[in-house]
């Protein structure tokens, strides 16, 4: 029981990070119907920006943890959003009217560009960060096994809940969210109703990148090491989470992230850690057989 609870805590933490990234995939798919394969690498760039920002803040003497975290969060979100915006502007917008596969191929190209850029600019070795958020609470113990929830785990889950809450308000309560939902349902009609579709799409990428930056920062804090390749592995997991939950559905992405995180953690805990990815992807295959549109997805209606 204690062991189970511990794994639950770990799984929710990991799932939060996946969920934040998955939203970026699902939102972009919802609005322009493409899979932004560079999104995982935008997350990786976000993690690097967060790392550099931490080091820079330490150098200029800002060491108070809450202040440093807040500053790094803002810096990472803003700069990563600029990256996300640029990727859309440079690689996807010129191909908007092109055939369906074209942006998909440039997306893969952008992914490689970002990976190689970071590999060359930052080096291929893993980059460590000394633990910044330490400590935790022992909830209870059973025999020699104690269930611990660490401060960083609390921070990750709390930040995710907060950010997702704000994001939910943005989508459902503001006119930007309204415009996004309108573009998602009928892009042409949205344009004819006076919605600047190009700007709405740009803002979607900016928002997705902002969330990915939050995930990048949390990942960096949780694991303490990053390298240029994390975008691929974590990105594919988050993409799986988005498909799992029903691509195009934002609550689906959150749910899918959580489930993928839990499957991975529980599989590692009870079976073999080597096969955790196999387990996660197999679950995806099984779910897609029984729910072809994912858990919360809507069946695609062909527009005439």
């Amino acid at each position: 029981m204690a062991y189970f609870l511990q794994q639950l805590i770990n799984g929710v933490t990991l799932g939060s990070i996946y969920g934040l990234i998955a939203i970026g995939y699902t939102m972009v798919y919802g609005i322009i119907g493409m899979i932004n394969f560079a999104h995982g690498d935008v997350f990786m760039v976000g993690a690097f920006i967060a790392l550099i920002a931490f080091l820079a803040l330490t150098t200029i003497g800002i060491t108070a943890v809450p202040l440093a975290l807040l500053l790094v969060l803002i810096i990472a979100m803003v700069l990563t959003a600029v990256w996300g915006w640029t990727v859309e502007r440079v690689a996807y917008r010129p191909l908007r009217e092109s055939f369906r596969l074209a942006p998909l191929i440039t997306a893969i190209g952008m992914s490689i560009v970002l990976q190689n850029f970071i590999q060359i600019a930052q080096g291929a070795r893993v980059k460590p960060l000394q633990p910044i958020v330490t400590g935790g609470y022992e909830l209870f113990h059973q025999g020699s096994f104690s269930v611990i929830v660490s401060n960083i785990q609390i921070l990750i889950v709390a930040t995710t809940v907060l950010v997702m809450g704000a994001f939910w308000l943005l989508i459902n309560r503001t006119e930007l969210g309204r415009a996004q939902r309108a573009c998602e349902q009928d892009r042409l009609m949205a344009a004819l109703s006076g919605v600047d579709v190009d700007r709405t799409i740009s803002l979607t990428f900016v928002l997705g990148a902002g969330l990915a930056a939050v995930a990048g920062l949390l990942y960096l804090l949780y694991y303490g090491v990053i390298d240029f390749f994390i975008g691929f592995v974590v990105g594919i997991k988050a993409f799986t989470a988005a498909v799992f939950g029903g691509i195009g559905s934002i609550p689906g992405a959150m749910l899918g992230g959580l489930i993928i995180g839990l499957i991975e953690t529980f599989w590692s805990a009870y079976f073999t850690i080597e096969y955790k990815d196999v387990a996660a992807f197999s679950m995806l295959a099984i779910v897609l057989i029984f729910f072809p549109t994912g858990l919360l997805g809507r069946p695609e209606v062909e527009k005439v």
Binding site: E175, A179, L188, A191, G194, V195
Partner: protein
């Protein structure tokens, strides 16, 4: 067909179409068509199937880039807008031309009210400082949002959908969806409202209500109405000005009374025998 400058649409046009042509590969859908749409008129564009009516609409609303021609929207309160140079978004946002579709295009998953709020996106977006204001709950956005809701409720009242404001647009019956589409177009505060077969699929009672609505828009709002219509009884009853297309060419242009007795129009709608056709060709 009457002397120049005596018709309302020549005296005060909101839209002037000059030498509009649209080719698709080797096919000429619209062939050198010129006409004017009056600022205070209901103008109808009619013609048999495949005459190019919807293509003309698509050129005006930026869905197609015309092969040739000039489309000038006279804004009265500012410089004219050259529609052939604008994107579909700018045609709505800047030139303020709104349209509806033959096959209804609402945002089906959003509520009736939200559909009308999307149409007011521009003003709201500016007032909210592009959403940042809204997130931080700044007052100006609240006010703009309230005004937008007021306008949306006004148009819902006009089209009789106020009780259904919070239902999903896709779940409304067909006739209601048609009226909602018009309400959404009106919420963009258009100078020119283009309606593609607004009466299609409506029963007689709904059709009468639509006529009354269009006349109210012409008389009370600062909006010119331009519609494609198949239903001749609708056209003849409410239009001030009728333009007839056939095979991509304009064959008649005038008041309903004039068009009704025009031999070209009769020929296009009813067909002619070969002798009559030759006689028609021989006319000056």
């Amino acid at each position: 067909m009457g002397g120049a400058n005596t018709k309302s649409w020549d005296r005060d046009p909101i839209l002037t179409v000059e030498h509009l042509s649209m080719h698709f590969g080797g096919i000429t859908a619209v062939d050198d068509v010129s006409f004017a749409v009056g600022r205070k008129d209901i103008t109808a564009l009619i013609g048999p199937n495949g005459a190019g009516k919807t293509t003309v609409f698509n050129c005006i609303t930026g869905f197609y880039k015309p092969t040739e021609g000039m489309l000038t929207l006279d804004a009265k309160d500012g410089p004219p807008h050259f529609l052939e140079r604008l994107t579909d978004y700018e045609i709505n946002a800047d030139a303020r031309v709104a349209r509806t579709f033959q096959n209804i295009r609402l945002f089906p998953g959003m509520t009736v009210l939200e559909n009308l709020m999307v149409a007011q996106h521009n003003g709201l977006s500016r007032a909210s400082g592009f959403s940042f204001g809204a997130i931080f709950g700044l007052g100006r956005f609240g006010l703009a949002e309230k005004e937008a809701i007021d306008l949306a409720r006004y148009w819902l009242g006009q089209v009789g959908l106020l009780p259904r404001a919070d239902e999903a647009a896709g779940s409304l019956p067909y006739g209601d969806q048609r009226r909602l589409e018009i309400a959404r177009a009106m919420c963009t505060r258009p100078r020119l409202l283009c309606l593609d077969e607004p009466a299609a699929g409506l029963n007689a009672k709904e059709s009468d209500a639509l006529n009354a609505l269009l006349q109210a828009i012409r008389d009370k709002e600062d909006t010119a109405v331009f519609l494609i219509e198949h239903d001749m009884s609708v056209v003849m009853r409410i239009s001030d000005h009728v333009i007839v297309l056939d095979y991509g060419k304009k064959i008649a242009d005038g008041t309903p009374g004039e068009v009704r007795i025009d031999p070209h129009v009769i020929a296009a709608y009813l067909g002619v025998s070969d002798e009559d056709g030759a006689a028609l060709e021989a006319r000056p």
